[in-house]
């Protein structure tokens, strides 16, 4: 086996048993690795009657074949499980430095079941693992836990850590790697918390990986790297971070403001865009392992009521979710809210979107001071969000903290008044900060059919619709007009496969944009020796997408769940998309037909499943 180690750690926290499991080698090729392999193992091994936060619930971390390769955008890994937020299949992707270290330690992934008797952490070193007490970490915010871990295990150790929100089982609690890189979505922090698992720590490992064709891989990565470095996308991400074009997005109506009720605010655009972050607060840039893009921000804010020490700065999603969605143009406050959210260990997208929904509910009188514990939820009041609301959610404290800790969908179902109509979510997962009504109608289809719920990265539609990639090798060589449904279902079929490939090979969707599709294929083949052809690679992507839909169907999802809320589909009130209706049902029907989905069940019909070897 090349690139992969063929070894997966299996840890049962009930009895502290640790073993090594080796999946059939053929599975690696068929499911590529990362998200795809994790989904396959989950499908084969998980108990589908097991609630998300049950001790027996399965939590999987999985590398792709490229983790460890010294090349930009390859230091990512996937997590899989059942989401406490959506109750369906959960997946999340995280960058940083942990993935290659796990690979160099000799493992492709980790499968965790059971619940430790007391707060614990998993400590991994070369070829082995141990479960040790983590009482000394329990209750600490993520930044503190990260520092303590470095003190105990060395400054070069790499960690996955949960914060107080994960310990308190907040449905959208996240996991942070080295206090900066997040398994943000779907509530993986709560899954770890439910297992009394505070952290996974890996000692520093030296490079240790063999490839199918090292010489050719080396030549290829050397050839591509300068192109990545010089590409306009890299320059923007490096100079201004992922929020580098927030202002540009706002012109097109892509940025949801004030809980998706507005689309343009000039002051907000200028204040919150990435160049402003860089000019005012950037102290240095950071990157995932081996990456020349270096899109991560390190910031410090002084002389402000929202002063923060030097540390991780916000991504685009965080700026939009805790700024634009809450109708704030105060950049320092937004950065501080992001830092607090990180430290408490919560997904900033779900946190921001849920609070935005609560602010609108409060404005409409659907939430009263009784339900908010006397806290007035006013638009733009980030002081209250930082000091009261985020801590209450993380601690699941009081009426408000408890209500919002379950996310916007469950909170809306709880208070009624048709307040679900102004949530922005699909399948219970709050939508990311790209509004299809301005950003592109294909996003709407992608949000509805993405296996984990509203998501812009599990498929490649977002990147294809914004013209960030072009793949003539596989028939995608046309520009898409954002505000129509033209060619969107057809593109979505390819997008489903490409997104699955990216998340399974664990390519970064920023760094891989300058790559041709053939180059992606070659990188995977030269490292792993899979020997995929273009056709079999695309088929593997589709297999993975269909498999995740099968998993969800086992959890009870059907076509009716491929839906967006009224707020997401009502015409935008301003901007380029004002007054334009998204032809949503038509796109969905066409996509169903192209994917050979059963009209009721929302999964592929038998012949397609057989063709993909899923039956």
């Amino acid at each position: 086996m090349h690139a992969n180690t063929g070894k997966i750690l299996r840890i049962n926290l009930d009895d502290n048993s640790i073993s090594v499991f080796s999946p059939d080698e053929e599975l690696y090729k068929k499911y590529i690795g990362g998200s795809g392999l994790a989904a396959k193992l989950f499908y084969d091994m998980a108990d589908f009657n097991c609630p998300a936060l049950d001790p027996q619930a399965m939590l999987i971390f999985m590398n792709g074949p490229l983790a460890g390769v010294k090349f930009s955008g390859t230091s990512r890994m996937s997590a899989a499980g059942r989401s406490p937020l959506t109750n369906i299949f959960a997946e999340s992707s995280c960058g940083g430095h942990f993935p290659p270290q796990l690979r160099y330690a000799g493992f492709d992934g980790i499968i965790i079941t059971g619940k430790a008797a007391k707060p614990s952490l998993i400590h991994i070193t070369r070829g082995k693992a141990e479960i040790v007490d983590a009482g000394w970490l329990w209750g600490t915010p993520i930044s503190t836990a990260n520092e303590k871990i470095k003190t105990k295990f060395g400054t070069q150790s790499k960690s996955l850590v949960i914060g107080p929100a994960g310990e308190h089982l907040v449905s959208f609690a996240c996991i942070l790697s080295n206090a900066h890189h997040a398994f943000g979505r779907c509530g993986f922090g709560a899954i770890m918390g439910s297992k009394n698992l505070k952290a996974i720590v890996i000692d520093h490992q030296n490079f240790n990986q063999s490839y199918y064709d090292s010489a050719k891989l080396h030549t290829l990565t050397n050839e591509i790297t300068p192109r990545i470095k010089e590409h306009i996308f890299t320059q923007v991400l490096n100079d201004f971070g992922s929020a580098g074009n927030l202002e540009g997005h706002m012109y097109t109506g892509d940025v949801p403001i004030k809980n998706w009720s507005e689309n343009f605010n000039e002051e907000m655009a200028e204040n919150l865009t990435g160049s402003t972050i860089s000019e005012r607060y950037l102290t240095r840039k950071a990157s995932c392992a081996h990456c020349v893009v270096a899109c991560k921000r390190i910031i410090r804010i002084e002389d402000s009521p929202f002063a923060i020490s030097e540390g991780p700065g916000p991504e685009y999603e965080t700026v939009a979710a805790l700024g634009c969605m809450l109708n704030s143009s105060d950049l320092a406050a937004v950065c501080k809210a992001g830092r607090v959210c990180n430290d408490l260990g919560m997904d900033s997208i779900s946190a921001g979107a849920t609070i935005a929904w609560a602010m609108e509910a409060f404005e409409k009188g659907h939430l009263t001071l009784h339900e908010t514990d006397g806290i007035a939820l006013e638009w733009g009041d980030l002081c209250t969000v930082i000091e009261k609301v985020l801590p209450a959610i993380a601690a699941r404290k009081g009426n408000l903290g408890m209500l919002l800790s379950h996310g916007s969908k469950k909170a809306a179902e709880h208070i009624g008044n048709n307040s679900i109509s102004y949530t922005a979510q699909s399948k219970g997962l709050e939508a990311p900060m790209h509004d299809p009504r301005g950003g592109g109608h294909g996003h709407a289809l992608a949000y509805a059919v993405s296996p984990r719920g509203a998501c812009h990265v599990s498929t490649a539609m977002h990147f294809m619709e914004t013209g960030a990639c072009n793949y003539p090798e596989i028939g995608f060589e046309f520009d898409l007009e954002a505000l129509t449904d033209e060619k969107k279902p057809e593109t979505m079929v390819l997008a489903a496969s490409i997104g699955s490939i990216e998340n399974s090979a664990c390519f970064c969707q920023y760094a891989d944009r300058p790559l041709s599709f053939n180059e992606m294929l070659e990188l995977v083949n030269l490292s792993s020796g899979y020997g995929h052809t273009l056709d079999s690679f695309i088929e593997a992507g589709l297999r993975i997408f269909h498999l995740k839909r099968l998993i969800n169907h086992r959890y009870g999802t059907v076509r009716a769940d491929d839906a967006l809320t009224e707020r997401m589909l009502e015409p935008a009130r301003e901007g380029d998309g004002a007054g334009i209706l998204i032809n949503f049902e038509s796109m969905l029907n066409k996509f169903y037909s192209l994917m050979n989905f059963d009209d009721q069940k929302g999964i592929a019909k038998e012949e397609t499943l057989r063709k993909l070897d899923l039956l």
Partner: protein, 78 residues
């Protein structure tokens, strides 16, 4: 009588704000959005949309005296 030239303001938006800045330029009468694009070429890998007075405009859109032209890069999000 000869048509007077038109004076328009150009601004870069998003990450083009620094590169293009904000400036007022004089264009010949009958100028269109496509003429602006020729004057402010951007990276070939980048798609841009031109807004005239905050409304999206096609290449053939005719420019008028006093127009505010925003050159907006299209870029994927975070």
């Amino acid at each position: 009588m000869r048509n007077p030239s038109i004076s328009i303001t150009i601004e870069g938006a998003g990450f083009l704000r620094k590169k293009i800045g904000t400036r007022t330029i004089v264009m010949p009468p009958g100028s269109r959005v496509s003429d602006i694009k020729k004057q402010f070429p951007v990276d070939t890998d980048l798609r841009v949309i031109v807004f005239v007075n905050r409304k999206k405009a096609s290449d053939s859109h005719a420019l008028h005296n006093g127009d505010l032209i925003s050159i907006v890069p299209i870029f994927f999000g975070g």
